[in-house]
Symmetry: D2
Subunit: 431 residues, 4 copies
């Protein structure tokens, strides 16, 4: 199964990957005003402008600084302003105050991007083989890093614009009208035994997907597709949010404190008694066939309890998903879209929509694989230090850049997070 990951075997293909990824970020920002690019709606979200600058800072800090001779930083304060969380690099601008940075302007940030692009291309083009061997993995890490921020750019922007009563539509849905009827829910039985989990393929993968290792799985069943909006509405209307029996203790506290009674962005219209959701295309009616999206892992687990099922572990998900090709609806060419329903399956026992459309919450806390070791130095802060208090999501979403994903890819967010394109698929034990 050929995976379209950011990969390269020589400086030419590294340059191509670099150019494509950098261009994709700018394409996403193009329809937006400088003001749109400045919104920060919560500490966990960042302005579009900050994403554009921080991804450039990453290349400058981890590659240009150490490896480009006589590199002079674009601006002496950008290292402070656009460091996200790398304590070993030094102090940084407060996360909660990223939305207060009117300066540098969006134009200046775009100039910073050009500056970094040119310096990095020059560095790669002039690098000898030894240097190339050192910087190529870092360039690919930087590209994957930037792709992650493309998805965050979209989800943070959506959250920011949602705070506005104008409910702005800032994009056109690249695939409007594509959705069909969701296929009937079916259970696919998976054999257990010792499985291999984690990355061992060619090309780039994150440290947290490695090393490949063995996991024992008990036989289990997996739903053929994610839970749909229509199914989730039945849970809501059955009083699911009011019955403590389905909820984890932490979850019950959150839904009561925050008054949650539906997924994020949802609103039941008093005019027509129908559900609507805010999206980057404005407010749209809920499509009952599309996978439910913008739920927390708490809500996913509560729904699963309500139907007498559970969420799969990340190992169950990965073992099953590795049987199917990595295909799905991803972000392409800077054009986001809404999650849509699965297509009707050609093959009766396949698993549908494993990839793309919505991330799938798993039952697995995000912890290190056996034998995991973070790289030395500040770049080692990338993934390892977040292995606490978060849950693994698998499979990518409609906001994940095409080619960014792997079957072994481990996304992770706190269990109460809802602003990603997060849905879920049911699992259950075999009897």
């Amino acid at each position: 199964m050929p995976l379209d990951v950011p990969t390269a075997q020589n400086s030419t293909s590294v340059l191509e990957t670099f150019a494509r990824v950098r261009g994709d970020s700018e394409a996403l920002a193009r329809p937006l005003s400088p003001e749109d690019c400045m919104i920060q709606s919560m500490e966990a979200a960042s302005p579009v402008k900050w994403h554009l600058a921080h991804t450039s800072w990453f290349f400058e800090t981890f590659i240009l600084g150490p490896h480009a001779k006589d590199h002079t930083p674009f601006h002496p304060e950008f290292g402070y302003l656009f460091n996200s969380y790398y304590n070993q690099i030094g102090e940084m601008h407060q996360r909660a105050k990223r939305g207060m940075l009117s300066r540098p302007s969006l134009d200046k940030v775009l100039a910073y991007r050009s500056f970094v692009n040119e310096a990095l291309i020059r560095l790669i083009e002039n690098a000898d083989d030894e240097t190339l061997a050192v910087i190529e993995p870092l360039v690919l890490l930087g590209c994957s890093h930037e792709q992650q921020h493309q998805e965050l750019l979209i989800t943070d922007l959506q959250h920011g614009l949602f705070q506005n009563a104008l409910k702005p539509a800032v994009y056109t849905d690249a695939r409007a009208g594509e959705g069909g009827n969701a296929p009937a829910l079916k259970w696919r039985e998976m054999e257990g035994g010792v499985c291999n989990i984690g990355w061992n393929g060619e090309g780039f993968a994150f440290d947290n997907e490695q090393p490949r290792h063995k996991v024992y799985l008990h036989p289990f069943e997996l739903a053929n597709r994610p839970v749909t909006n229509g199914e989730y509405i039945a849970f809501i209307e059955d009083g699911g949010y009011q019955d403590p029996v389905h909820w984890l203790s932490d979850a019950w506290e959150v839904i009561n404190r925050e008054h949650w009674d539906a997924p994020l962005y949802w609103r039941k219209s008093e005019a027509d008694n129908q559900w609507y959701r805010y999206s980057l295309f404005g407010e749209v009616p809920i499509d009952p066939h599309a996978p439910v999206c913008h739920v927390s892992s708490y809500e996913a687990a509560a729904y699963a309890s309500w139907v007498g099922a559970r969420l799969p572990t990340e190992f169950e998900w990965e073992a099953a998903a590795s049987l199917f090709p990595l295909e799905g609806r991803f972000l392409e060419g800077g054009a986001p879209f809404l999650p849509k329903s699965a297509e009707n399956p050609a093959n009766d026992d396949s698993l549908l929509q494993l990839y793309g459309d919505v991330w799938e919450w798993t039952a697995s806390p995000y912890v290190a694989y056996p034998g995991f070791a973070a790289p030395p130095g500040a770049v080692g802060e990338y993934n390892g230090k977040f292995m606490s208090g978060q849950m693994v999501l698998k499979g990518g979403s409609c906001a994940t850049p095409r080619g960014h994903l792997r079957v072994s890819y481990r996304n992770f967010f706190p269990p109460e997070a809802r602003w990603q394109f997060s849905g879920f698929r049911l699992a259950r034990d075999c009897n």
Copy 2:
């Protein structure tokens, strides 16, 4: 003593005042980018763009809506977005989230301003005398309201830009170099007795300055000028912030919780051991002769205790100030500047710098005057409902629009507020 308050006796002069005030707001915004106009650094501060829109909403809501025939609002959601705190008008956008409004854009807000200007001018020009008698006080109220927001625009902007390590300079100091040496501190004795306090002049004044009423004052002494930066530095360097004996209980809690050890915006350079402050002109050295600025009433009171004095009451201040002409350095033509030292007095027993440069904290909590009555309706929420938990400041500052002030003017802020141009003058009892 002729006061240059917004005043008008016929539709022509009302129109002139209106045009001037509206233009001044836009002049202040002109050097700023749309991104600068979007910063909100704390709940109590608002983005420049929001100030520009809200002041227009005020005219639309209180004048055009009720009085212009067939007036259609510029946008159906602006009433929600730009209502500040008028509960009787309806629900409103959350105050803490004003900085998340990328839409409407600054351009759109400027278009909104033009729309309101044109409609209001049309209304005034075509109004019969009866209508004019009703709307003229409201137009003048709206103009005074807008002038207040011009000052807030400056102070909120300064606070917002201060969050940025780039320390942006966004204006040029309109009066750079003007300051001289502060005159020596002298005490001016004031007789006591029954005084008249509050507004009874011609032209516009706020409801909270009225009615004019009698207050009994005991004899007191007032300093000839505000406390200077140099004097305040002596307090800092004597350990003033570390000695509980000078501080109110609430103050002691705040300075310890917030780790205050100098006025807002101040920084002692490790390079040259000198004090600097952030300003809208960038970071500048502290001028020891200029009045201390950006202190809370807590710090003002602690300093006064340290020198064995106290703050004047608002009544003492007003009674004394009414003996002197309303002259001072105010905001003019959309050009802010930094507080400067007092000029050397021609007259040995005058009170200097009563007006302009820095607001002066008084010892008086902001409460109603005897006989105070708020106007009926939502416009009555303007001042009266804030008569709790705030202290009165007098005299205006370098960010107060020229012509906005009166001797009876009562500004009010919570005692811990520091982001206004707030200083203070000492008083003491006569022996």
Copy 3:
């Protein structure tokens, strides 16, 4: 008008006052268990045991330590545990953690009281005239301080026990059944002019009641009695808590954040649709004739707005009250009771219930009188440092020890405080 303040002209009467006041505190604690004496329900409230110890610490710290030769403190840590807020004395146990002090036991605290009593009596009995002249005012201050804590002991205890679903009754109402019908509301007109305000009598008074000084009052009218429960219920049932027009801005925020819709301790029974309140005698029906109690100054002001009146200033209250004898229902012999209705007036134009039953919120923030000076040293922290963010209450309550009050007495609490026995009386301007 002879006032029954704690007063003394020689060591004998000082000793009598001291013995009586100290005994009264213990009488209040006698019906309580050691566990009852340990409850702390919020930071602003303290356990009964802590009150008993702190009042002893006051005598030990300000009198025995400086003036009793060779005084060895009862326990080396009690100075840390029972210092309330005297920063000049040294560090102290955190206020919010007073309820965590199981040790010293109540028995040990009572032993501490005996130890202090004996040492102080010995000191007074053996003091020469010169020493007596120095310590007598401090002993009287300590007695007044302890009386204040007697009232706090009651109000803090009531708040603590209220947290318990058992609704414990811990006292017997010393005057149950005494209440009658409230007289009709009548307005008493008061002349204005320059009045003398503050203490200048014989005997002890707090620093904050001094110096006596002149205040100019405009003519006003004062209600003949406090607002009753029945009148306040009409406000509730008219939707008073839901209409922003009556509320200060801070107040509107508090009542919405805290979901206030009635006075503290009130509950409307679903069984009989009647109002009840928790008291130290258990839950009792609301007496419509009794003065409303346990309201904040915000609620007092909102009610006043609803009836088209206002609260009196502390000066109006004091000037009017000084025309009437200081009589009322106070705490006597360690026996609290519930506020009751005013008796029917013998004299048609008198002001009823000025003293006792409920403290009356005024419209006056708590600030220094002209010429006020706190005593030097740590004892100066007693009153002066709290002159910020609080409102003055006048007249005492059913929980105020008889003999503690003066017409000039200024009680003060934050405007949102409700756990004192706080009611109010209406005022209005003369037309």
Copy 4:
């Protein structure tokens, strides 16, 4: 390997277990005053008195109520006051306010215990075989529940008394002087492969230890004993708390926000430059040979990073520990003690102190075993709903009642919790 778990084969042995466990709780409370039994120092901790009552409520609610004919509850409000978190039972007293319950008194709670004891004994003695088969597992669950609360009683009490500057000693160390020198650190290699994990023995076990299932383990090494105080002091003195490289992101935030620089209860004396800790026996010097205790999982993981090791997973721990007998120093006869050093090993390749002394943090988040199912009804809220945001600890401590533990026992606390007797043991991968 015979395990001394609460177990019973007939009503006689159930009664013996019940009587012993109930008596042990009261023995722990016996040296304490009613005031000691009322302290609550944080929301997560409960007063001793509440523990004594809640464990009785458990028997009354889950056994007497449903199974004892004509059972009348001891008090109609105790169901509200002493329900901990069983939402399906009904509403409950706020957790943070358990320390405000002066009523019922400790005496009344002891009477409640007697009442429940007598009713339960009567029920068991008179039960037919069918009833006995139903209630016996519930009685054993209630006994294990009560043993858990015995440990919490000790840890909550220690935390409560620690808030007091008197540093009270409330027990005598039952095993003072027993500790010796810690053996040298050695690594024990463990083979990997498919292991069986979880409970399948006779007698009682919690639902969360079941079902027994297979887990694949990679070869690993485990330290022969827990990390000692002496070793941990070296980490502190090497600046371990100041170097971000060792800390998880959440951990770094906590140690900086809370200013942690040593384990809970530790203090470095300025007098002798030695470390001391608060304990229930008063403040005692740190024994460098004893296992470090009262650290969070964050600190455990940071220490492990500092020495180039890691924490074991719960599966590694259990697989290794199942090779050794369940022996160790536990709570016995109501007499707590301090953790001590391991004895010198007879056998060179054994694992020492697996059980007792200190709980050992693992690297495993607390989640459900494959096939886990909570029991139906409210009793199912016991364990399952807490499977979020917590980490597993293994092996029991000196505060765990002897006989309560199993090798499969899974204790769980949030990663930042420090007030349990929590230490850790190192693991590392095999090369």
